[in-house]
């Protein structure tokens, strides 16, 4: 598993400034498309309580958790708004042709 790029979806499956949920290998991820049309990936669950971030709202560089509105910078994973204080893990993302891939291992 030296090169474990996993295909997530087609680029167009994610709206600009939006997020989708991606489940793989028993784990859940959140895949983002920024307003500048770059793609990013983080753990799918909020670090406060285990809530799916993909139900939250993306504004610029941040994802807001749907439960208690904790905020993360999804490009760096940094926790930027209470009540979250633990950063999110991020994963490398690449786009090849029309497809989005993440590297999970």
């Amino acid at each position: 598993m030296a090169d474990s790029w996993i295909e997530v979806c087609a680029k167009d499956a994610i709206d600009e400034e939006d997020v989708i949920r991606f489940d793989y290998g028993g784990k859940t991820y959140a895949i983002y498309r920024s307003p500048e049309d770059t793609f990013h990936a983080t753990d799918g669950l909020c670090t406060h309580e285990k809530i799916h971030l993909a139900d939250g709202l993306v504004m610029d560089d941040t994802i807001e958790c749907p439960k208690h509105n904790g905020r993360f910078d999804y490009k760096t994973g940094e926790a930027v708004g209470a009540p979250v204080c633990i950063n999110l893990k991020t994963y490398p993302v690449k786009v090849e042709g029309e497809a989005v891939f993440i590297k999970v291992a």
Binding site: E17, K50, H52, L57, E64, K67, P83
Partner: protein, 407 residues
């Protein structure tokens, strides 16, 4: 050395304010005083994701030490002296403050004549209440809940999840008369019924008695209900006693202005205990009992104590989890407005309330899990932006609310 800032009330609001003061570089002493034994913790004090042995704290004790916040738990303030700027305790010397923040929260209303030491008749506010209630729940147990508000319904759901037989008593003709539209209340009630909760609305309680192993409720219609426990969910009263005795203006809570200043010099108040002019509702005086408001006002209080210019224009917002359903309410509806419904394919729904001028005033949504969270968040932003959305857009679930957000 300066006397620094003293905060009375070690709940979420007081704790938030204390930490934010340090974040903003405040260097003088901070004393955070709370009558409960635990460091500030999250309410609701028990949810299914939490263990029962200790509450979920806002921060561990050593975080207070490392931030040089003098956290005094199991410590009750008995009196404040605004002239000498002193805080008094039942025992020991008073302490001085340069500025005082009151975050004393609220106390649940009890049924008349019931001892606060009762083991079977409990309100639900503190961790101890939650523990007390929890140990009387179970498959062979029965509980009576008095009051069909949010707390009553949430405790009802928790009791059912533990297998308890549940009956909810409500004096009004329906539950949740405060704060949510009828159809959303109906959805919740229907769900509770499916789960086996019984509702008795429009009843009058004549008497409540506690015996060694049971609680008896005598109703005006002659029936007597018995149960292992009784949970009282009939609202809370703001803790204004200290402020009142010190001569501060009280108006449905400790009255503060937009800077969170009370009527006394150098005394501020925030959270469940205060009423304030709501900036986004043109100064209408409100008191909120919600988690988000407590967080926002805790942060705002820190800024105000430090004299930082800022206005708090956040939209009132609360949520309630019951079974797999989540209810959210953003904004304040005043009852006279027009409503527009947005029905989603999965059965979830948001009801928007528009003022006579077309302005979006409030939104209430219900759905499974966090299905409505994103659109509720956008609704909140539209309310804050004083938007006047097209009702046809609101009622169309495929229309992206984000596209009408002014940016």
């Amino acid at each position: 050395m300066n006397a620094g800032i003293v905060i009375i009330g070690a709940g979420e609001c007081g704790a938030r304010a204390a930490f934010v003061l340090r974040e903003y570089g405040y260097e003088e002493p901070i004393t955070l005083i709370g009558s409960e034994a635990h460091p500030p913790y999250e309410r609701p004090p028990l949810s299914k994701s939490q263990g029962a042995s200790a509450p979920v704290v806002v921060a561990p004790r050593d975080k207070y030490a490392s931030e040089r916040i003098d956290l005094r738990t199991s410590c009750t303030v008995t009196r404040i002296d605004p002239d000498l700027q002193l805080v008094h305790f039942a025992e020991g010397d008073p302490i001085k403050y340069d500025k005082l923040l009151l975050t004393t929260g609220a106390t649940p209303r009890m049924l008349r004549g019931i001892s606060p030491a009762s083991k079977r008749i409990l309100p639900m506010r503190t961790f101890e209440h939650a523990l007390g209630i929890k140990c009387l729940l179970g498959p062979t147990r029965r509980t009576i809940i008095v009051g069909g508000g949010f707390i009553g319904l949430e405790v009802g759901a928790m009791a059912r999840a533990a297998g308890t037989e549940v009956v909810i008593l409500e004096t009004q003709s329906r539950v949740l008369t405060r704060g949510v539209p009828q159809t959303i209340a109906d959805t919740l009630v229907e769900r509770h019924r499916q789960e086996g909760v019984r509702f008795e609305c429009g009843i009058q309680i004549e008497a409540v008695r506690e015996t060694d192993d049971a609680v008896e409720v005598e109703l005006a219609d002659g029936r007597t209900l018995t149960a292992d426990s009784l949970v009282v969910g009939i609202g809370v009263v703001p803790n204004t006693q200290l402020a009142e005795a010190a001569g501060l203006v009280i108006d449905n809570g400790i009255a503060v202005n937009e800077l969170l200043e009370t009527s006394a010099a150098n005394i501020y108040a925030a959270g469940d205990c205060c009423s304030f002019p709501s900036a986004i509702y043109d100064g209408r005086r409100v008191r909120l009992e919600s988690w988000r408001n407590t967080q926002d006002q805790g942060i705002h209080a820190a800024k105000m104590l430090l004299g930082k210019p800022d206005t708090l224009a956040s939209v009132p917002w609360m949520w309630s989890d019951q079974y797999d359903l989540t209810l959210q309410v953003a904004g304040l509806a005043d009852g006279s407005e027009r409503s527009v419904v947005r029905n989603y394919e999965d059965g979830s729904r948001i009801i928007f309330h528009l003022g006579a001028d077309g302005r979006l005033l409030a939104a209430s949504g219900i759905g499974v899990g966090n299905s409505i969270a994103r659109d509720m968040k956008l609704s909140e932003m539209l309310i804050a932006a004083r938007a006047e959305p097209d009702p046809d857009h609101l009622s169309d679930p495929s229309f992206k609310l984000k596209s009408i957000l002014p940016r």
